[in-house]
């Protein structure tokens, strides 16, 4: 233990010698969460749409009124010169991205409605499929309500919807805990990813090789100091999310911190493995970013739900630490879930760390033997 302490102390000197990096470690995540917390959002405020009412009947006007009254759409009926919008003009607006949808009410609307066969055209910008789906769903809902109101069949079928854990369905509640998880993993991996490759580049790795310490002790000793740094950083990030954005903490804080610790160790272990593999700092840097950023954006459930993924991709997601911590942090923070709900996730985080550390030690040992 005394021998490990020596390397811990040495590594602490490394950290303290570069106070600017240390400041960056604490400041950048907060700025990121601040900016991104407000900016990443699925919540569409107003959908800009054009209305072309060729019927101009009482019923068509009532329908346009129904779209306007809903509050979701901001309707456009005239062009800049104040004339009624033409279809070609509206199509051009759609192409420019000024509007997301064109609602076309045909000339024979009211007569065919009397016959029970009326149709209206909904020309939707299909580019962003997510937005297109939402727009179409709003249309459908408004149409159904309009029919129910006209036919006085309000009780056609009563559908009540209730949203739990996030009653206003704000996507901030979804994204901010996710952001915390992604940032924490990247910070942890970055902290250790240069520690060995730096020694390799400056040549001081030879001193480590000939030291009496075992490889295992060197790897563990190089990881421990960063646990403290990363855990402090994690606590600061969590507090910021809690108090600035008002993300509730419905579960217990010690439980969350315990899992955060496991998660941080997994991230640091990944960094140290990259560090032993990379010949230079530049390679280590690129490898760390590529191996943490896109996988934790894409395959962890941060943005895209895991349930929809194909089995192969789901299998990959099990190797990504962020997958587990995302489930944990969303569960504990937003739903008040407890320790016993996440035994599997916790176990997987520990297993991942052990595998990564063992691989790093093995690789380091081989390099050491080769050097001697």
């Amino acid at each position: 233990m005394g021998r490990i302490k020596a390397i811990i102390v040495k590594e602490f000197y490394h950290i303290l010698r570069d106070p600017r990096s240390l400041t960056l470690v604490f400041i950048t995540p907060l700025v990121m969460i601040f900016i991104l917390g407000y900016s990443i959002s699925y919540d569409l405020n107003r959908i800009a749409a054009a209305v072309i009412d060729l019927s101009q009947s009482r019923m068509s006007k009532a329908l346009v009124e129904a779209f306007a009254a809903n509050g979701v759409f901001s309707l456009r009926r005239r062009d800049q010169a104040g004339h009624a919008l033409s279809l070609a003009g509206a199509e051009d607006l759609l192409r420019r991205g000024t509007i997301k949808e064109i609602i076309v009410i045909p000339a024979d609307f009211s007569s065919s409605a009397a016959g029970g066969q009326a149709q209206i055209g909904l020309i939707i910008d299909g580019g962003d499929t997510n937005v297109a789906n939402l727009v179409y769903q709003y249309d459908e809902r408004i149409l159904l309500e309009f029919i129910a109101a006209r036919q006085k069949t309000g009780q056609l079928l009563k559908i009540g919807t209730k949203v739990f854990f996030n009653p206003e369905a704000r996507s901030q509640f979804f994204f901010i805990p996710g952001l915390v998880a992604v940032i924490l993993l990247m910070i942890s991996a970055m902290l250790t990813s240069l520690s060995i490759s730096r020694e390799r580049e400056t040549g001081s790795i030879a001193l480590l090789f000939i030291s009496p310490l075992r490889s295992r002790e060197i790897i563990v000793g190089k990881t421990i100091p960063y646990i403290i740094v990363a855990l402090l950083d994690g606590a600061v990030i969590l507090l910021f999310a809690r108090f600035w954005f008002g993300i509730p903490l419905r579960g217990s804080l010690p439980v969350l911190l315990l899992f955060a610790l496991l998660y941080i160790v997994a991230g640091l272990s990944l960094g140290i493995l990259i560090s032993t593999l990379a010949p230079t700092q530049r390679v280590a840097m690129l490898a760390t970013l590529l191996s943490t950023m896109l996988p934790s954006f894409l395959l962890s459930g941060f943005i895209f739900p895991l349930d929809s993924l194909s089995p192969v991709l789901r299998a990959i997601s099990y190797a990504i630490p962020a997958t587990y911590f995302l489930r944990i942090i969303r569960g504990v923070v937003l739903k008040g879930a407890e320790l016993k709900h996440f035994l599997f996730e916790g176990g997987m985080l520990i297993a991942l760390s052990l595998v990564l550390l063992a691989a790093a030690t093995g690789k380091f040992n081989r390099q050491r033997k080769a050097a001697q």
Binding site: L44, D125, M190, L289, S308
Partner: protein, 367 residues
């Protein structure tokens, strides 16, 4: 000509390690393919639970449709009133569908049941889409049921999806990936390049050479630009050939926009390199900038959702314009008339970044 030697030296330095070659040319292909599959998977197999308290036929028929739909996976079914919240809390299901008999004022049974949808609101996007699917199933049931009795719904909306008729999300996201990769690779190659010379004290050698400041500056940026362009071509090929995304616009403008963008991002990366004194600092700066660039570019979530106070950050984000131009060209086949403003904004940002970064670079060299 002298410049060529520096470019050559930089290229040798970058490509000397086979790990680097892998990271630069193989990993982008892997990333694009994975990314492509992730984003082209539409939301389906949403896990739901069903509690059926209704004795009517209608509820049973609707539930039958939910069971058969590939959009849902029914994880639990029950006919007893129970604790609806626990499965939601554990994350087993994303929604609970509760069917009850509906009674009118005279307390006689209505034909259709009352349905309550209890949703997990955390992933609000998935929940909303799932609720939409469910509404769709119910609506279809109603339409079928009415048609059986010789009546149709009196009014229907007929949707047409422009630019992407089958609503393939890969058509929207795929081309953007190219911009994404261009950013990651070039930013990391360049942001550490000067720092490295600082750390290894080889900078003096470079300064003693007969190259002037501008030549050194360009010499540092060009190799990454070349690699970036190669990656872009690889990316485009993968996107178009593997994922079968139609390309409708002009290749010329696509590359023009990419070149302007490269100037902006490389100037920015060199600025990081001048300002940082260790590789670690450069890494943090580059990481921070990347996260902001990528997540505020409109790639994942619409730029319009960014609140007004932070719009300025989005407005100076060069990636935002590149992604927009790429999408206009790919998806809509728009000509320059539709995106000249974006191209101009991108050029202005590039010009500003190049001058700031060159100025700092000169000051740094003269020290």
């Amino acid at each position: 000509m002298k410049l060529l030697y520096l470019v050559k030296k930089e290229l040798i330095e970058i490509t000397r390690q086979k790990e680097m070659l892998f990271l630069m040319f193989v990993s982008p292909v892997i990333q694009i393919i994975i990314l492509g599959y992730v984003i082209s998977t539409d939301i389906r197999h949403v896990p739901v639970g069903i509690v059926n308290l209704s004795r009517g036929q209608a509820a049973e028929r609707i539930i039958q449709r939910v069971r058969q739909s590939p959009l849902f996976v029914v994880r639990l079914e029950s006919r007893r009133s129970q604790d609806y919240l626990t499965p939601l809390k554990k994350g087993e299901v994303k929604a609970m569908l509760v069917f009850r008999d509906a009674l009118d004022r005279k307390r006689s049974l209505l034909k259709y049941p009352e349905v309550q949808v209890l949703m997990d609101g955390i992933d609000s996007n998935t929940s909303m889409i799932a609720a939409g699917y469910f509404n769709g199933i119910i609506k279809q049931y109603l339409v079928d049921d009415m048609e059986k009795r010789g009546r149709g719904l009196p009014l229907a909306g007929r949707p047409v999806f422009r630019f992407n008729p089958r609503l393939r999300s890969i058509n929207y996201m795929g081309p953007g990936i190219v911009g994404f990769l261009l950013t990651i690779i070039t930013m990391f190659l360049t942001s550490a390049s000067l720092v490295r010379e600082k750390e290894q004290q080889t900078l003096d050698t470079l300064l003693m050479s007969r190259l002037n400041t501008l030549e050194i500056y360009v010499g540092k940026a060009l190799p990454a630009a070349l690699i970036g362009l190669v990656d872009m071509v690889i990316g485009l090929l993968v996107v178009v050939l593997w994922f079968d995304i139609p390309f409708r616009g002009s290749l010329f403008y696509l590359f023009l926009a990419a070149l302007v963008y490269l100037a902006a991002i490389l100037a920015y990366a060199l600025l990081i390199s001048v300002l940082s004194s260790t590789t670690q600092q450069a890494m943090f700066f580059a990481w921070f900038s990347l996260m902001i660039f990528l997540l505020m570019s409109g790639f994942f979530t619409p730029v319009e959702n960014i609140p007004a106070a932070l719009r300025l950050v989005a407005d100076v984000n060069p990636l935002r314009y590149l992604i927009k131009i790429i999408r206009e060209i790919f998806l809509k086949g728009n000509g320059i008339a539709y995106f000249w403003k974006d191209l101009l904004a991108l050029a202005a940002i590039a010009a500003a970044l190049v001058s700031v970064s060159l100025l700092n670079f000169k000051r740094f060299i003269s020290k």
